[in-house]
């Protein structure tokens, strides 16, 4: 009996955790191509910075991928795979010019990294190839997803609760909707430019 009493709370706790981890799925419409959907900051709650690094490449005078979503505190490595010189800079983060930054120059095959500690939209640019552009969306929570090209998305492991969920697309106006997550939850967004 004693043994049963010890195991039962663990099982119940595990089951209850699973029961409260929901999913947000849906579709972003009104725009074409990849969008990003993320859960806005949750009052009083912080999240540990991810330890895994994310890489964005510069190849063929293009940033790859064009859209990257990361959680707050993620370190992004910028790789130059081209035989020409590039740089990476962003004039602001979500319009805050104080958060603009220029990483300088580095040769082919080398990387420079940056830890994004401020949430928002980061417009990546190269100051010698003005046609190059990419976006890093720094989500304030670890709950985010990049849609497929049709706009479909799915965010897993979102604890049940009430959130503000934002959809972003290049050149479109952001849209934030309140979403009450209870298990498998649907949330659609229609964006316009």
């Amino acid at each position: 009996m004693k043994r049963i009493n010890l195991v039962a709370p663990i099982v119940i706790a595990a089951l209850s955790t699973a029961a409260f981890a929901g999913t947000i799925h849906g579709k972003v419409s009104g725009v074409s191509g990849e969008s990003v959907v993320y859960v806005e900051a949750v009052a009083g709650k912080t999240f540990p910075a991810p330890t895994a690094h994310v890489t964005i490449d510069q190849k063929g005078l293009m940033f790859m991928p064009h859209v990257t979503a990361v959680a707050l505190g993620t370190t992004v490595e910028f790789l130059n795979s081209d035989s020409v010189a590039h740089n990476v800079f962003w004039p602001s983060i979500s319009g805050n010019k104080k958060l603009g930054h220029n990483l300088g120059t580095w040769p082919q095959g080398q990387r420079k990294s940056f830890k994004f500690d401020d949430p928002g939209i980061v417009s990546l640019l190269c100051n010698v190839h003005p046609e190059m552009a990419a976006y890093v969306i720094v989500s304030p929570t670890p709950y985010f997803a990049v849609t497929d090209s049709s706009g479909n998305f799915k965010i897993d492991n979102v604890p049940d609760g009430a959130y503000t969920v934002t959809a972003w697309h290049e050149g479109a106006k952001n849209k934030s909707n309140p979403v009450k997550v209870a298990g498998d939850t649907s949330a659609d967004f229609t964006l316009s430019k």
Binding site: G60, L61, N102
Partner: protein, 526 residues
């Protein structure tokens, strides 16, 4: 002579005649690589260091060109066909889409209030030339195409459709095929030997045909025409060659424009049409003159060395310097020199040594142009200058005692001119460049030729002259990129002082005055 006249009319205020028609960048490359004009140009058509390397490489990216192509080339034979050569045509390629670019420009000019003072030399009641105070003028519509054929062969053809002339004066500009890096077949250092053939601008320290200024540099358009009147010593030189003229021939070159050595050597002619360009400037007037003696090819050579001044050796030797905020043009100092050697031919109707038998006698007058140049760049400030000295042998016709005409020629004092320019370009913003220029041409013949009114000239061609033998021009300017392919330019030309003389007495009618001009240009490429 016509061109000489035009260059002097320029002084009088026909500014549009001197506007450079051939400034261009290549939108086809933007399409081909999916990149902005600013990848190669700082203020089109001025090349940045990467643009210079792109051009050096035969209009290709210096490394891994294929990885940057957004439009795959069309193969003219599979690359593996090369193994069958010489039993098959060697495989090449052409751009996947027709690499054509188009350019149009238009101008507005405003000329000084005393612009019509020249007419005071005309008899009362004579209608003279009218130079408007302000004037909108159409510019040039140009087509140009350039690219790589693969296997190290590149080409360039540009043509100003709406005007007549050549190169900096319109019409067909450069039209050549270039064999890049022939050195690889001879196991020489990379890019140490290239060959181009066709029509091309000489390898000038800075290109007149592709200048970014609204008006070209005066020294490159200067021709050497000896004194035509009795106010100076007799000079039998009518050399229509100008440094800006297009050359037809072949050119060997090597090195890089973005660092280290650069050389070129061209063998060419400039006029094999057989058409006389003017009457000679000394009697008898029954001769024809050619730009150059087609059977004696002209030669031009240039040698320059560019010192990139970055401390870091990797950055110093790379195509672009590694700046703290991104790649940029090197800080550099270029020192160069050039030498042009040619020979004019002026046939005269004369007689043989017997003094009676008619014959054609040709005065062959070797000439040379020699000069040096310096170019310094620090970040976005570029200062450069050119000095040139010209020298033409002067062969005067000699009539033997008792002969019925010219029997020979005898050398006399050479006909010379010299001068150059200095210019500072400051790219204050990536889209705004401030320019300060100073041009100088020192030619005693220029002054004396036009110090006296020539009654033989048709009415309306009133003569005038620079106030002194040295012709200076200061030209501040500003250029703005509206977009990477649209530019507006402003230039204020502070002209030399001029005088109008009485044709009969030589007395001064109008004292020194200026015909300064403001020019605004708008051009776009697509």
């Amino acid at each position: 002579m016509m061109r000489k006249r035009l260059s002097l009319l320029f002084l009088a205020g026909f500014v549009a005649l001197s506007l450079s028609p051939s400034a261009m960048a290549i939108p086809a490359f933007s399409r081909r690589y999916g990149t902005s004009c600013t990848t190669c140009h700082s203020d089109f058509p001025k090349l940045n260091d990467f643009g210079k390397a792109f051009k050096d490489a035969g209009f290709k990216f210096p490394k891994d060109d294929e990885s940057f192509l957004k439009q795959p080339p069309t193969l003219l034979g599979a690359p593996a066909q090369a193994e069958l050569w010489p039993h098959t045509v060697y495989p090449g390629s052409i751009p996947g889409q027709l690499p054509v670019g188009l350019r149009y420009n238009t101008y507005y000019q405003q000329i000084g209030a005393n612009r019509n003072n020249f007419n005071q030399v005309l008899p009362a009641g004579t209608v003279g030339n009218f130079i408007p105070k302000s004037d909108f003028q159409p510019g040039y519509f140009s087509i140009f195409t350039a690219g790589s054929m693969g296997t190290g062969i590149s080409w360039w053809v540009d043509d100003d459709i709406s005007v007549a002339g050549a190169n900096a004066n319109g019409a067909l500009g450069d039209g050549y095929l270039k064999f890049n890096d022939l050195s690889r077949f001879l196991k020489l250092p990379k890019d140490s030997l290239n060959l181009r053939a066709g029509q091309f601008e000489l390898d000038l320290p800075v290109s007149q045909a592709r200048t970014w200024n609204l008006s070209g540099w005066d020294i490159f358009s200067e021709q050497n025409v000896g004194i035509q009147n009795g106010l100076g010593p007799a000079q039998n030189v009518t050399n229509g060659s100008a440094m800006e003229d297009a050359a037809n021939g072949v050119e060997f070159s090597g090195g890089h424009a973005y660092g280290g050595y650069h050389y070129s050597f061209a063998v060419f002619d400039q006029n094999t049409t057989g058409v006389n360009i003017s009457p000679p400037n000394i009697g008898p007037q029954n001769a024809v003159a050619f730009n150059s003696d087609a059977n004696f090819k002209d030669m031009y050579g240039r040698l320059a060395y560019r010192f990139n001044l970055e401390k870091d050796p990797v950055s110093r030797n790379d195509v672009q310097a590694a700046g703290t905020t991104g790649p940029r043009d090197h800080t550099y100092l270029t020192l160069g020199s050039f030498y042009f050697y040619g020979r004019t031919a002026t046939p005269f109707s004369g007689v043989l040594a017997d003094g009676v038998t008619p014959a054609v006698l040709t005065a062959r007058e070797p000439f040379y142009r020699i000069g040096g140049d310096v170019n310094f760049n620090y970040r976005t400030l570029n200062v450069f200058g050119v000095y040139l000295a010209a020298h033409d042998r002067n062969e005067l016709p000699v009539t033997a005692p008792g002969a019925a005409g010219i029997t020979s020629f005898a050398p006399s004092s050479p006909v010379t001119f010299s001068g150059g320019f200095a210019e500072a370009d400051y790219l204050a913003l990536p889209w705004a460049m401030t320019i300060m220029r100073w041009d100088q041409v020192k030619s005693s013949a220029d002054r004396i030729n036009f110090i006296e009114y020539n009654p033989a000239s048709p009415p309306g061609s009133s003569f005038f002259s620079p106030y002194s033998a040295t012709r200076n021009r200061f030209t501040p300017g500003e250029q703005f990129l509206i977009h990477a392919n649209i530019k507006t330019s402003i230039e204020y030309q502070i002209m030399p002082q001029q005088i109008v003389y009485n044709p009969a007495t030589g007395a001064v009618i109008t004292g020194p005055f200026r015909t300064n001009a403001l020019i605004v240009g708008l051009e776009f490429l697509y």
